[in-house]
């Protein structure tokens, strides 16, 4: 279970999160919606420990552990995975070496020996199929020369390899055409177990039609201002955010 209480976080001295509370229980899918600049990506970056963000108050616990005390790689080993909004290209580092290093680091954390090379390559082949990722891509450098859609599929492929307990999808649907969106969403659903929880950041109803969130939150100006069932996403799709802002008596600057 992920429990965030009164979280304040800033970047470059500018406060973005202003007292955010959020609880995600095992197996739940939470959708996070909101205007650009509301703090959605900041929240995901803070959860995974991006060094550019400073937590000034509040707490995040993950299965009882103080998440903020852990390094980014330790958070990953504890089962937290971020599907990046903009996956990074790493020329010269092959997908195979990258995935092997990641997987074996996790195994080491769990007290296991490195995976034998043959087993590893077999696993790569299996998981690749889940998101229909070409072997041509997995033999290249990380994300280098990948199209926008291929990068997003590659994120879900990595998730499949690492089997996280909490997946954060930060606008994984942006830049995807209808078919790619279906592949990514269905891939994600195949990977879910009854224990896997997820935070899905999106602007659109379409991804949520596939992922079927249990809860939908609206994040405005660094706080969660409204929480409801999946019907809320549909309402936002139709009416936008204005009615929530007015209804909650909020003022949004800029």
């Amino acid at each position: 279970m992920l429990k965030i209480e009164n979280l304040h976080a800033s970047i470059g001295g500018k406060e973005i999160l202003k007292g955010l509370d959020l609880t995600v229980r095992d197996g739940e899918v939470h959708a996070l919606m909101g205007l650009n600049g509301a703090g959605k990506s900041t929240l995901s970056n803070v959860i995974v420990g991006h060094p550019a963000y400073e937590v000034t108050a509040g707490s995040i616990t993950w299965n009882g552990k103080d998440l903020l005390a852990l390094k980014p790689e330790e958070r990953a080993h504890e089962g937290i995975f971020l599907s990046f909004q903009q996956p990074v290209e790493i020329p010269g580092v092959s997908m195979v070496n990258f995935m092997r290093a990641a997987l074996n680091a996790k195994r080491k954390y769990e007290g296991l020996d490195p995976m034998p090379a043959g087993d590893f390559l077999k696993l790569m082949r299996e998981k690749r199929k889940i998101v229909d990722l070409d072997s041509r891509l997995t033999s290249r450098s990380v994300n280098e020369g990948f199209s926008g859609g291929e990068k997003k599929r590659n994120e879900i492929f990595q998730m499949a390899m690492l089997e996280p307990k909490l997946a954060i999808l930060d606008e994984t649907d942006s830049g995807l055409d209808v078919d790619a969106l279906r592949i990514v969403a269905e891939g994600f659903n195949k990977l879910r177990t009854p224990q896997t929880s997820a935070i899905v950041i999106t602007h659109y109803q379409r991804l949520l039609d596939y992922l079927k969130p249990d809860v939908v939150h609206v994040l405005i100006d660094g706080r969660i201002v409204k929480t409801a069932g999946p019907e809320l996403a549909e309402e936002i799709e139709n009416k936008g955010f204005d009615w929530i802002i007015k209804g909650e008596g909020l003022e949004v600057k800029g």
């Binding site: 420990g49 390094k71 990953a76 990074v88 790493i90 010269g92 580092v93 290093a101 990641a102 996790k106």
Partner: protein
Amino acid sequence: MKQYLDFYDEVRDVIAARSCREMNDEREKALQTFASQGFPSKKTERYRYADVEADFAPNYGIQLAQLGGTLPPHCFRIAEAEPRVRALYNKVADTADSIVALNTMLSVDTLVVHVPGTRVEHPIQISNILKGEQDTMVCRRILIVMDKLAEADIIITDRAASQSRFLTNQVIEVVMDEGSHLSLYEVEETHLLCTRYSSVFVRQGANCSLHHSSLTLFNGHTRNRIDVQLQGQGSEVTLGGCIIADKMQHVDNNTLIEHLVPNCLSRELYKYVLDDSAVGAFAGKVLVHEGAQKTSSQETNANLLATRTARMYTQPMLEIYADDVKCSHGSTVGQMDEAALFYMRQRGIDEREARLLLKAAFITEVIENIPLESLRDRLHVLVDKRLRGELSKCEGCKLCK
């Protein structure tokens, strides 16, 4: 400087007796050059980034040994080489350079690699093993002669079997006759107390190809110079440099490629990964002489500084006196890609390993350019070990154990 002149004065007869006529004939002129010029200062253009005086200051014992033992195929002591080959001694080197002059003055023997006009299947490996309890200076001299249509791979490795202070002053002369192909690799795997001055001079005839890779995996102070003269049409040269340095290491590469005739191709790629307080320098000049039309030349120096205390001096130069050429030159100095580091850490790769992967990724291009597959595979392993700090001993060398 005086210590070297005094020493020479003392041992000149011993050297002459152990050496041969071709080498002895060059000594007096070399002595004059060295005595009149002394060590080059930082004002000397090609020594701008080296502190020669300091490097040669320690009181080294100087080794005056002949080559011994059984030499590999195509390798000879100079006295046993063909007269026409012996006659090429000191004919390609820059005799006006005082470091070269010092080598010419003190070298006792020359290793001649003479490749007749055929393909030599197996790479010729020359291992220099520095050993001894005392601080030692070694003057090493190699003459490589490639006959018409000869083809060979030569690997020269520098290793140190004891923790003494060593200074190597090496001069390699290469003469390539028409249609010959040579790959020459130099690998430095020593320790922090080793200083190396290397001067390589190449003369290429028509339709020749040369690949030279300089791989500085570990050494204290390195100063590598290579001068290539393209004297025959249709020739090409590729120079590669893979430099990994940390702690207080200092690595300086100085290159000169001269296009003297039309229709030649030169490519140059030197990459440095500098960590801690390491200092790197690269000065590379491509000189296209008048009339050397249709020259194609590309020169790149790329550098990765892993810390704020590491420093790099880079000076790519292009001088063109012909009007129908295609030449480019450039250099970059960059830091670690923070976004890539974080991406890897989010996937569970710890920071140290992530940095290592980025460094290896940066340098891998130079290794991939190496034509000899078995060496390429070996170097991938060595580079990885080097970056992990596991290269404190020579690999697979019984002497060090």
